[in-house]
């Protein structure tokens, strides 16, 4: 059965939602999402440390969505242009040791799935010191991808959150996969 984005979005936005977005992103939209993130975190009286972490991770997660979503036509109003960005509060912080979840979703080409999966599995496998070493290696490698990224987006999410990334790939059609990522903060 093919993936139903609206159904998934509806299910993912159940519970204590601080912020949620479904749509296509431009640079300006990212700016306005980040403004709203600041407002909701302040309204929640988030402590400074969690506030900074969440803001940083939001920046990186949104820019990952902006740079790495694959869609047939970036400007077109097709479903594949949609990305999801959600900040959810943990309803039971006593039981599970985190305060917030950031959930993102975007369409990617089926052919990119394996590489992405291997990359996340590798990051999840590394310990804190190894993540730090890898981060510095990539920081210092002088390479920028054609998309303008420095290759540090995904690793930064692990480094800053201090937690493993949870992901899923949903089959959408013969060309596209919907990729979801959950970052616990």
């Amino acid at each position: 059965m093919s993936f139903d984005l609206l159904k998934w979005y509806k299910k993912s936005t159940e519970g204590k939602i601080l912020y949620s977005f479904l749509g296509s992103v431009t640079e300006d939209i990212i700016t306005s999402i980040l403004d709203k993130v600041e407002v909701v975190l302040k309204a929640e009286n988030t402590d400074t440390k969690t506030f900074k972490k969440t803001y940083h991770i939001s920046v990186e997660a949104l820019q990952n969505l902006y740079h790495h979503s694959d869609s047939p036509n970036k400007k077109g109003n097709t479903i594949e242009n949609n990305v999801v960005f959600i900040i959810k509060k943990n309803e039971d912080p006593e039981k599970t040791n985190y305060q917030l979840n950031i959930i993102t979703g975007n369409f990617i080409n089926k052919s990119n799935t394996r590489l992405l999966k291997e990359r996340i599995d590798q990051l999840n496998f590394l310990n804190k010191e190894e993540i730090k070493t890898l981060y510095k290696l990539i920081l210092n490698n002088d390479e920028f991808s054609e998309k303008g990224g420095g290759g540090l987006g995904m690793i930064d999410l692990v480094k800053r959150s201090g937690n493993n990334l949870t992901y899923n790939f949903y089959n959408f059609n013969s060309n596209y996969i919907f990729f979801t990522l959950r970052i616990a903060i």
Binding site: H56, V59, Q63, H67, K132, K136, L139, F144, G150, L152
Partner: protein, 126 residues
């Protein structure tokens, strides 16, 4: 040589590169989608400045947030400063971070470990 003065925006920091005094300052948020476009003029300026630098070059970095693509560009800025330093000029780098912002302190330490140039870590009280 002309100085550089760029006002901050919601995604880019306030820049003052003063060619007369040798005081360079980067302050605010650095989270643009296209960091190379923002930082290239600064790196080019340093290349030129490095030909006849002031006796002392003082660099003040007061970043509130920066994204990973900026982090590579900031390293390029530091590498230009490192070249000036290696040519026996005095270069002082002051890395400011807010009280308890361990991530920002760690980011400064990461740069310090990559570069052969001394950093001064300065904690700012909130």
């Amino acid at each position: 040589m002309e100085s550089i003065r760029i006002e901050k925006t919601r995604k880019t920091p306030d820049i003052t590169f003063n060619a007369e005094t040798g005081i360079l300052q980067i302050e605010g948020k650095s989270i643009p989608e296209n960091s190379i476009e923002f930082y290239k003029p600064l790196v080019d300026w340093l290349e030129e400045y490095g030909k006849t630098p002031k006796e002392t070059t003082e660099v003040n970095i007061k970043l509130e947030y920066f994204n990973t693509s900026s982090s590579k560009c900031i390293l390029d800025v530091f590498k230009k400063l490192e070249t000036i330093y290696k040519e026996n000029n005095k270069v002082i780098i002051n890395w400011y971070y807010e009280e308890d912002d361990e991530d920002m302190l760690e980011a400064g330490e990461d740069y310090q470990s990559i570069l052969k140039i001394p950093f001064k870590m300065i904690e700012m009280e909130e």
